[in-house]
């Protein structure tokens, strides 16, 4: 019997001919990643273990992006722990100050994570890199500490669920809507412990930004990883960025899947996930009259240049409604500079937006846009849990960037088609 792309990558990294669901394997790690919240615990454990050197200074990457620029003294101490460790270990890739971007937007942009890789990161959205055709999964700080020392991680090979997307996407329907629709269909534990393999003609014509967005939210369905077979679009994206070799894997025709789910997505409208779970999705026309106090456009899910272009296309020549705080967060310095050059900042500033430096910031209720009691936000981020963006009695609705921009203009959740 054939193998899935996930099984092939894992087998190759464990020196095995085959890897089957349920097998426990010890895999070589291509990239091990930590941020300013998770790496401090890993660094402490690294030192307590008596380890002297990381396994490869070019493959352990630290990105202080969550509470940076430092929001308070304790956050500054955590970021400093990363800085000190990076200098002590002479890490090649430590992204500080003006080089820092939201980790899962930054690493693909820099060509540091590549097709065929095994990437582990102490951040649940590490699964983003599956959009490039890598096996990528989130782990905790302890697993990161062990991987920084050994360059290996034990993993259970997951079963794979194959998703097939057919049809033609309507205007303003993007990768974000496909993944929200999918999570709405299978639930927040619908792919628990499993691999989600996104396939079909719609995926084959989806750009890299949309693919990264889809893989990014696989964790929101409980998945171990999300993955898309690399193709010409992938090749075009990675060939000019990669500094090392990469491999394209694809699933065999006779690979075994735990389940195959097909969607005709021709009729779906832009999706909105209502509080307090990403599975509470509805078409934007079905959401009802929801006034908003804040609109956030950014994050590892939707902070790429394509996302800013989409939001700008909606908001061009218009203003955010009175009382709506529109916050735009380009995810990396490169995206920031590109948006500036393309005139997108002009459009956002004319609309009354606040443009933030790259940071995870408000997505996790860290800083740069915290909600007060009773406030409501629409956000292009990935989670709408209780208290996620601030006060436990605030609310977050998730959407794509065009819907967030349209909602900012309308002062309530609405369809970009009604604004443009």
């Amino acid at each position: 019997m054939g193998m899935t792309i996930t099984e092939k990558i894992l087998a190759a990294h464990a020196g095995l001919e085959r890897a089957e669901p349920g097998d426990l394997i010890n895999a070589k790690v291509d990239i091990a990643l930590g941020n300013d919240i998770t790496a401090p615990i890993a660094i402490k454990q690294f030192h307590e273990s008596g380890a002297k050197k990381v396994y490869d200074k070019t493959r352990v990457i630290l990105v202080p992006d969550h509470f940076v620029p430092n929001k308070d003294i304790q956050s500054a101490m955590q970021a400093k722990m990363l800085r000190d460790f990076a200098y002590e270990q002479e890490l090649t890739y430590f992204f500080d100050a003006g080089e820092m971007g939201v980790e899962h937007a930054l690493l693909p942009e820099k060509g540091l994570v590549l097709p065929g890789d095994v990437v582990i990161g102490a951040d649940s959205h590490t699964c983003t890199y599956g959009g490039l055709g890598a096996f990528a999964t989130g782990i905790g700080s302890t697993d990161l500490a062990a991987a920084m020392i050994t360059g290996e991680i034990w993993l259970k090979v997951p079963e794979t669920v194959k998703f097939v997307y057919k049809g033609k996407l309507r205007n303003w329907v993007e990768g974000k809507d496909l993944i929200l629709y999918t999570i709405g269909n299978i639930g927040v534990d619908g792919a628990l412990y499993k691999a989600m393999e996104f396939t079909g003609p719609v995926i084959e014509s989806l750009g890299m930004a949309g693919r990264l967005t889809m893989a990014n939210m696989a964790i929101e369905a409980g998945a171990k990883n999300g993955i898309i077979a690399p193709d010409k679009i992938t090749e075009k994206y990675v060939s000019s960025r990669a500094a090392r070799k990469y491999s394209f894997y694809k699933s065999d025709k006779d690979a075994h899947y735990a389940e195959i789910i097909e969607y005709d997505v021709s009729d779906i409208e832009p999706q909105v996930a209502c509080p307090h779970l990403p599975e509470n999705t509805k078409g934007v026309s079905q959401v009802g009259d929801i006034r908003i106090d804040q609109a956030v456009i950014g994050s590892c899910t939707n902070g790429r240049i394509e996302d800013l272009r989409s939001a700008a296309a909606v908001i061009k020549g218009k203003k955010a409604a009175k009382g709506v705080r529109l916050i735009v967060i380009p995810a990396t310095p490169h995206i920031y500079r590109t948006a500036l050059k393309e005139g997108l900042f002009e459009i956002f500033l004319d609309a009354g937006a606040i443009i933030s430096p790259p940071t995870c910031g408000p997505c996790l209720g860290g800083h740069m846009g915290i909600l007060a009691k009773g406030e409501c936000a629409i956000s292009t981020t990935n989670r709408n849990f209780v208290g996620r963006m601030g006060h436990p009695e605030s609310e977050v609705y998730l959407s794509n960037p065009a819907v967030a921009a349209a909602s900012a203009v309308l002062g309530k959740i609405g369809d970009p088609a009604d604004v443009v």
């Binding site: 509470f67 989130g138 782990i139 927040v188 171990k224 996790l364």
Partner: protein, 162 residues
């Protein structure tokens, strides 16, 4: 390994922001995190929970972030074990790595706050003391129990190296 404790019951999909909100993630100090354990699910939890108590949840406990602060907060609050219908995979791994034992039990929903239960990790047996009703779960294998008793993965590894 066997424990007895009082149950604190929560629902389905208890996420890591409920277990330890991100506003407290500017530290990894267990004592500090414990003060805010389960705060957005039950604001008074940290003041009520007693040493050795047991958290019971429904399906998909610990979904969301990879923050190891979640099992750290639960363990430092004095909780001896978490029982749930199912666990999110990163939380599952993090809990054992931190030395917090967790058990999957599809009948966990029947338990309620205030129940007293005993848990036998060798046999994977949970007993409701008032009625003596027994619930089954997968036993925790000896090496995983040793990992828990050592205080987590890194201490377990350190012990084995010595």
């Amino acid at each position: 390994m066997k424990i007895t404790g009082n149950v604190w019951k929560f629902g389905n999909d208890v996420d890591t922001d409920l277990i330890i909100p991100a506003r407290y993630l500017n530290t990894s100090d267990p004592a500090e995190l414990a003060k805010h354990c389960m705060e957005d699910a039950d604001p008074g939890f940290a003041g009520k929970v007693g040493k050795g108590d047991i958290i019971v949840g429904g399906k998909n406990f610990g979904c969301g972030s990879s923050r190891e602060h979640a099992p750290i907060a639960i363990k430092a609050a004095g909780v001896s074990c978490v029982i749930a219908g199912s666990f999110a995979r990163i939380f599952y791994r993090n809990a054992f790595n931190m030395g917090l034992p967790i058990l999957e039990c599809d009948k966990a929903d029947e338990l309620k706050t205030g129940d007293q239960v005993s848990v036998d990790f060798d046999r994977g047996e949970i007993v409701l003391l008032s009625s003596k009703k027994s619930y089954s779960s997968k036993a925790i294998p000896p090496f995983m129990q040793e990992l828990v008793q050592s205080g987590g993965l890194m201490k377990y590894i350190a012990k084995r190296i010595q």
